[in-house]
């Protein structure tokens, strides 16, 4: 197993190298940032000075070599065009609120998804099951940003239970977390339902019942515990989806995370910040997947990696 994970880390390094390369050339597709960032009536000298300050006047391959060696050797992605100083600390500072939001969304998803999936799976084709299946289908089919705006309309504008704009209280996190976690909740409910139906008819569950264990013990200890294994993998793999959804959710709620920073950087053609954001997201997703494999092996002794 150690060998498996060492090889996985090797693959991750190659992947990240490729991601860095892709991100570098992608940013060059979007045209000359000097055109957008330097005001139209600036002098030609000023424009040239701006280009040489950021190394934009060098041949592309030279820029690429400098970019890669700076990133790999010094962790330096270069300076932001919009803010003073290096881009990396700006993104990292905004990563904390985003991770907070993602974590809150994941809690929402688990708190809604697990009871729904368990209840539906224990009584398949019952009334509750039909309701949960409808919810699961809806969660798959609803645009995140629209859900966010509708929640604002219902809970902030009409009912006035929550503020429209954040005021720095923990309540600010409620609507964004609900928005971002909704589709994951639906996914968890759907997957857990199938797993519970499968496991409820297994021999060890019948044995547990035959031993005279209380029904709640059978459900929680025997059924739920085994059924949660596939759910853990889904939750980790869905992390990438959550990061993408975070951009949209943060934009809807004007939430100061790195998704909002990235989208503002895109509007401003500040591609250094966009690069850091894409690479950082890829890194998070890759490690989430690795963690999923690791947890899987830890929880389920039958899993063996070669």
């Amino acid at each position: 197993m150690v060998g498996f994970f060492l090889r996985r880390i090797g693959t991750i390094l190659v992947t990240m190298f490729a991601v860095l390369t892709a991100v570098f050339f992608l940013a060059r597709l979007s045209g000359d940032p000097a055109r957008v960032l330097v005001s139209a009536d600036a002098t030609q000298e000023y424009r040239e000075a701006f280009r040489s300050k950021f190394g934009l006047d060098l041949p592309v391959l030279t820029q690429y070599r400098i970019f890669m060696s700076n990133v790999i050797l010094h962790g330096d992605f270069g300076d932001s065009y919009r803010f003073r100083g290096a881009a990396l600390p700006h993104v990292l500072a905004r990563a904390v609120p985003t991770l907070k939001l993602a974590l809150a969304a994941m809690c929402v998803a688990l708190l809604i998804g697990i009871p729904c999936g368990l209840a539906a799976g224990l009584k398949p084709n019952g009334l509750l099951d039909v309701g949960v299946q409808t919810f699961a289908l809806l969660g798959q089919s609803m645009p995140t940003f629209w859900l966010g705006i509708m929640l604002i309309i219902v809970f902030a504008v009409k009912l006035k239970w929550l503020p429209v704009l954040g005021r720095g209280s923990p309540l600010d996190l409620v609507l964004p977390a609900l928005t971002l976690g909704f589709s994951t909740a639906a996914l968890i409910a759907r997957m857990l339902r199938v797993a519970v139906i499968d496991i409820a008819s297994e021999d060890f569950v019948r044995t547990a019942r035959a031993k005279g264990l209380r029904e709640s013990t059978v459900i929680l200890r025997h059924i739920l515990r085994s059924a949660l294994i596939p759910v853990i993998t889904i939750v980790m793999v869905d992390f990438g989806f959550l990061m993408g959804g975070a951009i949209v959710t943060e934009t809807v709620f004007n939430y100061p995370g790195m998704g909002l920073l990235a989208i503002q950087a895109i509007y401003a053609r500040d591609f250094v910040v966009v690069q850091v954001f894409v690479v950082f997201s890829a890194l998070l997703v890759t490690f989430a997947n690795l963690l999923a494999d690791f947890l899987y092996a830890l929880i389920d002794p039958r899993v063996e990696y070669e």
Partner: protein, 280 residues
Amino acid sequence: MRKANRLLKYRSLAIGGLVMVCMIVLAVAAPLLAPYEPNQIDLRARLRPPSWESGGNPPHILGTDSLGRDVLSRILFGGRISLLIGVLSVVGQGLVGVVIGVSAGYWGGVLGATLMRIVDMQLSIPFLILAISVSAAVGASLLNVIVVLAISGWPIFARLARASTLQLVNAPFVEAARSIGRADAGIIRQHILPNIAGSLLVAATYQMAFMILSEAALSYLGLGVPVDTATWGTMIAAGRNYVSSAWWIVAFPGVAIVVTVLGVNMMGNGLHDLLNPRMS
């Protein structure tokens, strides 16, 4: 019980299919059905609520937006663009993904390994983040959105096509075809593709639902089609600033998205159950 299950299966496919057909008919017939021109501005009729609310103006059934444009007409015309982008981007990514995936699965070797490394790399960047970055780089237009979504979505098909091909490469009927000297292209066309078409079709259906959602998200962020084009995503973006006074501008285009995507997903579920009888 078994019969009831089968009926349930067809029901999902039937309802999903029906929704899809309705949406396509509405989109195609938009010029006949829409009571107004989608971009017709009428500043005297700004922010009119739906006709059943007080202050509503009967000809504007679903109300008007901040420029007095008719919400219903814009939804009908917007559907054309959403469906067009959904279908074409899936066709694009399907073609690229299947060609690459089948080649990697059939011939394997260094080529196959390299192609799959590219797939891994691309899948490590979250879909929406990739789509946003690419579309920011190439700019907003209808064709660009289709290309961006196709570029961002092909790895799913490549991975699926490769896995399904790998299961068939050493199957007896493929071996037999090879031993009588059939060319690779013929084997792929006659023996591989027909056998993997089912699972690809299911994937294409789910992917189309996802593409419609993604197009809406891109348009919402101002990175999809040009902002003055009526699409469901741009309509929601335009209504964002009026949430406290005019909920209908945001609500109805969203309902259109949910109904359409729900229909496509139900079709996907139905097809999946139909083609994998053992799974259900």
